[in-house]
Point group: C2
Chain length 329, copies 2
């Protein structure tokens, strides 16, 4: 095995432990009941655990990573569960667009179960943290939750607005997405005994990573990939959430002349697929997609400087690889 293969295998072992703690922390106190079934389903599959992995990778830069391995896996599980709770709460909104007449896609158990299943996961995470005396991590996580809420409310307040700016967009994604990435890095680094300066740098790295991650995710709509995968594209636009490519295309007079009429219609009724494709073509033609990619690359360049200040070791190289992978189309 090469050094890299050994490292990958070690991470997978740790990630298995994270999955174990996710199940353990979120275990239903009422198994074999209808309510227990809701809570177990809410857990769903645990996904790629990107935020948990990020926590472990940042922790690998600290002197206590090996000794604190189990505690770090618990913390990674707590970060993932916080993310999962926010996804569950997001789904409530996405299923019930406020200004739209389309029939609401009721989830399996209804919105009431979703609100409380999300709250249940949050309460479990924080109860566990308080019991284990993880005050610093609980404070960081609660702070991230707060910023996520503010970002989400900010985004909701911007829905269907014609005058949303790229600055509003960045404010909102810094809260709704980047805060938890930043917190994953900060908790991992702090708990593994990194110095304050390294914790700060890794937090800023995490925040940039979160922003680029969200930018890329929003760009995915502008391309064939989702359509080919059979997913509905431009759900955000349909719900009045205007992402960076749209906002950048709107910066020219030509862009406003072309897109505002569609945005006004969008506020009144569900646009047809044809109209949505027309919007997509216009955003591409007006250079919104290219400009958003340029912003990704400029973010990446800034983050690179930050990564260069870290000691040159294998975990730092791992973070650099993650970082560059985000720049690839």
């Amino acid at each position: 095995m090469t050094a890299k293969e050994i490292r990958v295998a070690a991470e997978e072992t740790a990630v298995d432990q994270v999955r174990y703690f996710i199940r353990k922390i979120a275990a239903s106190p009422v198994p074999h009941t209808r309510t227990g079934g809701v809570l177990e389903d809410a857990l769903g599959s645990s996904g790629k655990l990107l935020r948990g992995r990020l926590l472990l990778r940042c922790a690998a830069l600290g002197p206590d990573a090996y000794e604190q391995q189990e505690r770090l896996c618990v913390l990674a599980a707590m970060v993932e569960l916080t993310h999962l709770a926010s996804l569950i709460h997001d789904d409530i909104i996405d299923d019930a667009p406020i200004r739209r007449g389309r029939p609401s896609v009721q989830g399996r158990y209804g919105k009431d179960a979703a609100v409380y299943a999300g709250d249940f996961l949050i309460s479990r995470v924080l109860c566990w943290g308080a019991r284990e005396g993880m005050n610093d991590a609980v404070e960081r996580l609660a702070q991230a939750m707060e910023e996520m809420c503010i970002g989400e409310i900010g985004q909701a307040q911007c829905r269907f607005c014609e005058d949303v700016t790229a600055e509003d967009y960045y404010t909102n994604i810094r809260g709704k997405t980047a805060a938890l990435f930043r917190t994953a890095c900060g908790i991992g680094a702090a708990e593994a005994g990194c110095t304050g300066a390294v914790v700060d740098r890794l937090e800023r790295f995490g925040e940039s990573l979160g922003i680029v991650f969200q930018l890329r995710d929003d760009l995915l709509d502008f391309g064939a990939s989702r359509r080919e995968a059979g997913k509905e594209t431009h759900q955000d636009f349909r719900e009045g959430i205007y992402t960076l490519p749209v906002l950048l295309a709107l910066q020219s007079a030509e862009g406003r002349a072309s897109l505002l009429p569609l945005m006004r219609e969008n506020r009144e009724r569900a646009l047809t697929d044809l109209e949505i494709r027309q919007m997509e073509r216009e955003v591409i033609r007006l250079g919104g997609v290219e400009a958003a990619w340029a912003e990704i690359h400029s973010c990446l360049a800034v983050g690179e400087v930050m990564l260069d200040t870290l000691e040159d070791c294998e975990p730092a190289r791992e973070l650099r690889r993650m970082w560059y992978a985000l720049g690839k189309r």
Copy 2:
């Protein structure tokens, strides 16, 4: 001033401090913005602060109540904010009944803002608690939140079911209502230095109080008071949540014959006000309301025994007065 007047004045001073901490803990980090406006509105008026007062009254039984006064007011504010977050999340459900065709009463800012405003308050409470090292209280509060979620999910799972039992009802209200009453008592007593035995007793008292409180609240629908106050009655029944008077009326064959047809209609469509009044008359005629009052009085008798084990002092007498007031029609 009599001793009682002095005590009342002291409690009002403490309650003012609780209100101050509610505002302080939940202060928006983004004042003078649209998002800040949502968060400030979410706070609303702070109500009667029943749970916070209960915490202070239980604390008054402990030796450290005077010394810990400020901390106790912070904790009372945390309990009240947890309650407020749950009310905000409840409103999401109540505004969007799942199986009903009636137009949804959108709140001022929509459901998305409500989900995240509730989450924001929860994160603020827990962040504050972690920062101040209030681990025991945070653990108790998170445990209460968990039980509230399970109670609410349980209630949601029972909606429109014909075979819900009084036992299901008690299980659900023990979580959704009584858990936070219990926790308010437990936190107050523990933080004021009561012995473990007294903390236990006061927690059981708080749980019983919460159950009786919910029973009374559910009984309020069966009488003229709400209708006279211009409020819509039987919102629970309309939403398929069958409360104790209904469930007790259903225990006889006659009750099932009389009520099940209405309950089946209720599942399919919005009942008319006439049908709702018919249901109410039947529940009263079948003895459901009287039987629910009898359960309140039997709860009160059990709680009395518990209160009698407390040392005979003014704070204990205060709790006893609170207790008896709940038995009055």
